[in-house]
C-alpha cells in the first residue's frame, strides 16, 4: 500500500495507523498521542465557551437568513405535498382547509423576516386561499414550490 501524500506528520501517521489492527492499533495510537494531542484543543468548538456573548457570525441578520431558509423550505414542501396529492387524485395529507391554514401561517412568518419578495408572498397567499376550494392547477403549485426553493436563503437546498 502506497500513501498518496505523506507530506505532513499527520498524513504519515494516518498511513502508519492504517496498517495496524487490534492491540497493534492501540499501541500505535498511544505512541502517536502527541500528534493527535494537537487536534484536541483545536477541535474545541467555536462556541464551547458557551456562556460568553455569541461571536460576530451569530448576528441577527445571519440568524434571520437561517430562519427565512427554513420557512422557504417548509412552504416549498407544502406546495409540493399539495401538488403530489393533486397528481394522485387524493385529498391533501392534512386536509384542504388545514393545508391552506398551514401555508398562510408559514407565509405570515415569512413576511415578518422582510427577506421574501412581496410579490412571491402575495402569490403564495393567493394559492393558499384557493387550496380549500381545490382551485389550483398542478403546474401552478409546482411552480410556486420551485420559486420558494430557488430563493437564495441559507440551507434552502432541497
Amino acid at each position: 500500500m502506497t500513501p498518496r501524500n505523506t507530506s505532513t506528520p499527520f498524513a504519515r501517521l494516518l498511513f502508519e495507523l492504517s496498517r495496524c489492527s487490534g492491540a497493534e492499533l492501540e499501541r500505535a495510537l498511544a505512541d502517536s498521542a502527541h500528534i493527535f494531542a494537537r487536534l484536541g484543543p483545536a477541535a474545541e468548538p467555536r462556541c464551547s465557551s458557551a456562556t460568553g456573548a455569541p461571536p460576530a457570525i451569530c448576528s441577527l441578520e445571519r440568524a434571520e437568513l437561517e430562519l427565512a431558509g427554513l420557512i422557504a423550505r417548509a412552504v416549498a414542501v407544502l406546495f409540493d405535498q399539495a401538488a403530489d396529492a393533486l397528481e394522485r387524485g387524493e385529498d391533501l395529507p392534512a386536509g384542504r382547509r388545514e393545508m391552506g391554514a398551514l401555508l398562510r401561517e408559514e407565509l405570515q412568518c415569512a413576511a415578518s423576516t422582510h427577506l421574501f419578495p412581496s410579490s412571491l408572498l402575495a402569490h403564495g397567499r393567493k394559492l393558499a386561499g384557493r387550496l380549500p376550494r381545490a382551485a389550483c392547477g398542478l403546474a401552478t403549485l409546482r411552480d410556486a414550490a420551485q420559486q420558494f426553493r430557488a430563493l437564495p436563503l441559507s440551507g434552502n437546498l432541497c
Binding site: R4, S48, A50, P54, A63
Partner: protein, 249 residues
C-alpha cells in the same frame, strides 16, 4: 469540543438519560418570556441577546455527546432558527432542556445532510464554512478544505464508530476506558475506531482505491437505509420531529 468527560460517549439521548444542563433552572424560569411574542423574528432577536436559554451550552454539549466535529456557530444559528420558528407553539412539553436538545439534533441532521449533498455535487465550500476549519487544520498540516472533508467523513460515520474514533483520537481516552463506558470489548472499540480511521484516511486522500471503494459502498448503503427509514423528517413543514440519538444521514 468541551471537556464534559462524563457526558462523552453517551449512546443514549438526553431524554433517555435524564440529561439536563447545569444552568437549566435559569433557562426554565425565563422561557415563557423569551419564547412568547408576535413573530419568530421577535423571538430570534431575544434569543440573540445574551443567550437567555443557554442555547450555546446545549449546542456544545450535544456536539460532545454525539461526538461530532462541526462548526458550532453554524449549528447554533440553525438551532436558533428552528427554535424561533416553533417557539410560538411551545407550551412547556417536552421539558425545555429536551426540546432545545431536539432542536440542536435537528440542526445537526440538516447541516450534515446539506454538507454531504454539497460534497456529492462537488460544490466549493462556502468561505464562511471553511473559516471554521482553519484552526482545526493548521496543527495537522492540512488545508482547511481537506480538513472539512475529514470532518464530514467523521460525522458521517455510524455513531458507534464515531464515538470510538472520537474517544480514542480526539478525547485521548484509553481503549480500556472506552470499552468499559460502551459495554463492549476493547477489540470491538479498536475495530470501530479503525472504521473511523478508514473514513478519515479516505477524506485525507490517504487510502488506496480499492479500500476507498469498499468504504464508500458501505457509507452509501448506510445513507440509503437511513433516508428510507424516515429519520428526522426535517423538511416537513408541520412540526417535524427529530428523535434524539438517531443518526442523521
Amino acid at each position: 469540543m468541551s471537556s464534559e468527560e462524563t457526558c462523552r460517549l453517551r449512546e443514549n439521548s438526553p431524554s433517555q438519560t435524564g440529561y439536563e444542563p447545569e444552568d437549566a433552572p435559569r433557562a426554565r424560569q425565563h422561557w415563557r418570556a423569551v419564547l412568547g411574542g408576535q413573530s419568530p423574528r421577535e423571538v430570534l432577536a431575544r434569543m440573540l441577546q445574551g443567550d437567555p436559554l443557554d442555547m450555546r451550552v446545549v449546542v456544545s454539549r450535544r456536539l460532545t455527546e454525539r461526538a461530532y466535529l462541526f462548526d458550532a456557530d453554524r449549528v447554533h444559528l440553525r438551532a436558533l432558527a428552528h427554535c424561533a420558528r416553533r417557539a410560538l407553539r411551545y407550551r412547556g412539553n417536552p421539558p425545555l432542556e429536551t426540546w432545545l436538545a431536539e432542536l440542536v439534533d435537528l440542526a445537526l441532521f440538516e447541516l450534515l445532510r446539506e454538507d454531504a449533498a454539497a460534497e456529492r455535487r462537488g460544490s466549493a465550500p462556502d468561505a464562511e464554512i471553511l473559516a471554521a476549519f482553519v484552526e482545526l487544520a493548521r496543527p495537522l498540516g492540512l488545508e482547511p478544505t481537506a480538513m472539512g472533508r475529514v470532518c464530514l467523513a467523521h460525522n458521517l460515520l455510524r455513531e458507534p464508530d464515531r464515538q470510538a474514533f472520537y474517544g480514542l483520537v480526539i478525547a485521548g481516552r484509553s481503549l480500556e476506558e472506552l470499552a468499559k463506558a460502551q459495554g463492549v470489548s476493547g477489540v470491538e472499540i479498536a475495530r470501530r475506531a479503525r472504521h473511523g480511521l478508514e473514513a478519515v484516511l479516505i477524506a485525507a486522500g490517504q487510502l488506496p482505491g480499492a479500500q476507498v471503494a469498499a468504504v464508500e459502498v458501505e457509507q452509501e448503503n448506510r445513507l440509503g437505509a437511513e433516508s428510507t427509514s424516515g429519520v428526522c423528517a426535517s423538511t416537513e413543514a408541520r412540526e417535524p420531529e427529530c428523535t434524539q440519538g438517531q443518526e442523521p444521514s
